[in-house]
């Protein structure tokens, strides 16, 4: 470690991002288009869960145990971005969500690697997540008329949740403009090769979404959280 460690609470937004996206990907279990892809998505979900746990461990003094943080907080206490809580919809939405998020998470981990121990290891995992999303984007974007249309629809629909990713998180002293430039570069490159159009609407602004970092979430998140927390809340302290 070379740089000063950020305040623990600054790690809550990235930790919640990882947990929530992990849960969304886990929802594909039993429903993925093919068995091979189901295992791939589950692997990514487990990587993200591991990242969330490592970060929650840093927050123990502020927020309590991992279980308390994950299962006993109300919706408004979650600091994940709204992008990761969006429902899986069709496979195209899931892949575009993965692409938008991994393209952001990879340079974020690179920037945090010097001061957050888990980030260096997580960067290896995230590089694979980005590759996975990229491979599918290329094949579906440049696939059939149907797959292309679905990918473009997903890219447009999720675009308005991307601006929030680059609103600085208090306590994380990193180069947010550079991060955004890197993210845009990745998307322009991948979409270009996939024959998809990078949406031109604003990622933030009056009509766009994005207050997840302040604890405001979209409607589907409440239902997801209810399902995720149901077991723990019904049987507090249960173990197996």
């Amino acid at each position: 470690m070379t740089a000063t460690a950020p305040p623990a609470l600054a790690l809550l937004p990235p930790a919640d991002d990882a947990l929530v996206l992990s849960h969304r990907l886990g929802e594909w279990a039993g429903h993925a288009p093919v068995l091979e892809e189901e295992v791939a998505l589950a692997n990514i979900a487990l990587d993200l869960l591991g990242q969330a746990r490592a970060l929650y461990a840093e927050l123990r003094d502020e927020l309590g145990s991992e279980d308390e943080i994950a299962y006993l907080r109300e919706e408004r206490a979650f600091r994940n971005c709204q992008l990761v809580e969006q429902p899986n919809e069709d496979f195209a939405h899931t892949i575009v969500r993965q692409l938008y998020f991994s393209a952001y998470q990879l340079p974020l981990h690179h920037r945090l690697a010097s001061c957050v121990p888990v980030a260096a290891k997580a960067a290896q995992e995230t590089a694979y997540h980005l590759d996975h999303a990229e491979q599918w984007t290329l094949r579906l974007g440049d696939g059939t008329e149907e797959s292309h249309a679905r990918m473009q629809r997903a890219a447009d629909a999720l675009w308005r949740y991307t601006g929030e990713l680059f609103e600085p998180i208090e306590g994380l002293d990193i180069d947010w403009h550079g991060l955004r430039a890197e993210w845009s570069g990745t998307l322009t490159d991948v979409f270009g090769r996939a024959g998809l159009t990078v949406p031109d609407g604003p990622g933030t602004g009056a009509w766009s979404a994005g207050a997840g970092r302040q604890g405001l979430h979209t409607e589907p998140f409440g239902r997801m959280l209810a399902e995720m927390q149901h077991l723990h809340r019904s049987h507090p302290g249960a173990s197996w």
Binding site: V34, E36, D131, H132, R139
Partner: protein, 95 residues
């Protein structure tokens, strides 16, 4: 799109340097690039390997069960093909 539309690939995993690739199983994938990634997710998720091969199953020419006798039976009574008629010189550890 279902798995049955995709070609079958045979997966070979090398568990560590110095060993040969060993057949680990098979999977469906649309192309070689994706087959390699699926193989990584299916067969090396518990650190089983350091190298992967994927081979289109259709490209493998296999011996036929009908030819089993002419193929393999003649070797059965030729023990002299085994290197068991030598005195192993002292000091030779691996033969």
């Amino acid at each position: 799109m279902t798995g049955t539309d995709w070609p079958l690939w045979e997966v070979f995993v090398r568990s560590r340097r110095g060993l040969s690739h060993t057949h680990a199983g098979s999977l469906h994938a649309p192309d070689a690039h994706m087959a390699l990634r699926n193989a990584r997710d299916l067969f090396t998720r518990r650190s089983e390997g350091v190298s992967l091969w994927v081979v289109p199953a259709g490209e493998i020419t296999a011996s036929s069960p009908d030819e089993k006798d002419p193929f393999f039976e003649p070797a059965g009574d030729k023990p002299y093909r085994h290197p068991t008629f030598y005195e192993v010189p002292e000091g030779v550890q691996n033969l």
